[in-house]
């Protein structure tokens, strides 16, 4: 008897496997077996009884096609076929409508479709389809705004030798006037203060000051036009200080950043930072253009 090593770990031989297969086949088909030992005979008898028990006739016949709704079998295929048919019909219809000319019975359909497409585009893009010329022009920045980010930061003190001894084009507000300055920020008609050289913003800023010190009324100084004198960049840095955290553009509708506490040491450091109005005699000024 040849033993197989390796694969079967030497435990089984082909002859043993064939003998077991013959035993199983006899139990499976014929039910006749020649036992070699008493244990084998007992085991074979028990397995035959167990097999006969398992092979008893079922109590109930198998279910038939009538017991189960076999019409549902073809349902997925029918759905797919219907989808293909509907898609084809829609495609043919759309091509026929798209190629309709005047006098064609499908011409009104094409007109309706074009109208629907137009309405859909207007709904999808209301800003581009209905431009409001005045509002949009008033909300957009003028094109002659100098690029603030390109200018080097002004680390020098602002010019304190102006006529009234104040920083030009700057309103003085107190810490309690933050909401008022926010109201000022909602002035939509005024152009951004970066390029503002007219009187209107200065007058507004004069109105929102608390008025404790009459000398703090803002007056317009023509020299504050940044386009005229490049040394007037503190005016623009004030706006940046008002809109800290933004991209540098002024936010007319935003609330002013209160910044450091009024009267604090950072107010007077004069280092040209966002709140650097060191020339404020009261020491409570915030950058306000």
């Amino acid at each position: 008897m040849a033993r197989r090593d390796g694969y079967s770990r030497g435990l089984e031989s082909l002859e043993d496997i064939r003998a077991s297969d013959r035993f199983i086949e006899q139990l499976r088909v014929s039910g006749t077996y020649q036992p070699s030992t008493s244990t084998d005979a007992t085991l074979a008898a028990a397995l035959l009884t167990w097999r006969d028990e398992a092979r008893d006739e079922p109590l109930n016949p198998p279910p038939t096609a009538d017991d189960v709704d076999i019409d549902s079998y073809a349902q997925p295929r029918r759905i797919a076929q219907r989808a293909v048919v509907v898609a084809g019909a829609l495609l043919a219809m759309s091509s026929a409508v798209a190629t309709a000319v005047d006098g064609d019975p499908l011409r009104p359909v094409e007109v309706l479709v074009d109208f629907g497409v137009d309405v859909g585009e207007r709904i999808a893009h209301p800003s581009t389809s209905e431009p409001s010329s005045e509002e949009s022009s008033s909300e957009t920045l003028p094109e002659d705004i100098p690029v603030i980010a390109d200018e080097p930061p002004n680390m020098s003190l602002p010019d304190v030798s102006s006529s009234d001894g104040r920083q030009p084009d700057m309103a003085m507000i107190g810490p309690n006037d933050l909401d008022t300055s926010g109201k000022h920020g909602t002035n939509q008609n005024a152009p951004p203060s970066v390029t503002s050289t007219d009187d209107a913003p200065a007058q507004d800023e004069g109105e929102i000051t608390d008025g404790d010190d009459p000398s703090t009324d803002a007056t317009e100084d023509p020299s504050t036009d940044p386009t005229d004198d490049p040394t007037d960049t503190p005016t623009t840095t004030d706006d940046e200080g008002q809109d800290t955290g933004d991209d540098g553009a002024p936010d007319p509708g935003g609330e002013p950043d209160p910044g450091p506490p009024p009267g604090g040491p950072s107010d007077n450091d004069g280092n040209g930072n966002a709140y650097g109005h060191a020339n404020d005699p009261n020491g409570n000024a915030y950058g306000q253009s």
Partner: protein
Amino acid sequence: MLTRSQPASSSSASDPGALSALARRAADGDEHAINDLMGEVHVVAHRYCRARLASYAGGRQLSDDIAQEVCIAVLRGLPRYEHRGLPFEAWVYSIAHRKVADAQRSYHRSRDVSYAELPDMTDNSPTPEQSAIHLAEVGWATELLDRLPEKFREVLILRIAAGLSAESTGRTLGMSAGAVRVTQHRALARLRALAAESLVGEVV
């Protein structure tokens, strides 16, 4: 020499692919194919369930019910069978295996078993003594089989009780016929050892 009357073995096991072809025709809605397929599936499913539940009280009715459930599940799942890529026998076996496991769990949760209505007719069944011997043999065989590893037990159930060939058993379990023969040899060796151990214990 042991000789026992031989019940009809399943005819589904012989032709590899014949059952799958029948299943394809049944999936297309061929009513004759459905009935033929159910005849084949019901026989094998009933034998498998009966072999697994032979020692259960009311196992005859229980296995009959599960065989019906397997057939209905196969009928309802036929449209999806094509996409699974399994042999049809393996698919049916997975359904039957799951149904039997569910029945065993519910059986152990609730011992309420429904029995068939007693017929008002002459009882030609074996005598109580014969029934006791029969039940003892079945119970002993089932006990030994339950102590085998699952793979060994499944191979012996499909080969002996369900009457499948080695090739069909391999298709059902995802094995080659040679692997089935090696596995059944090892299962039989283990079963002989368990039987000898059990018989020695009874004598002692």
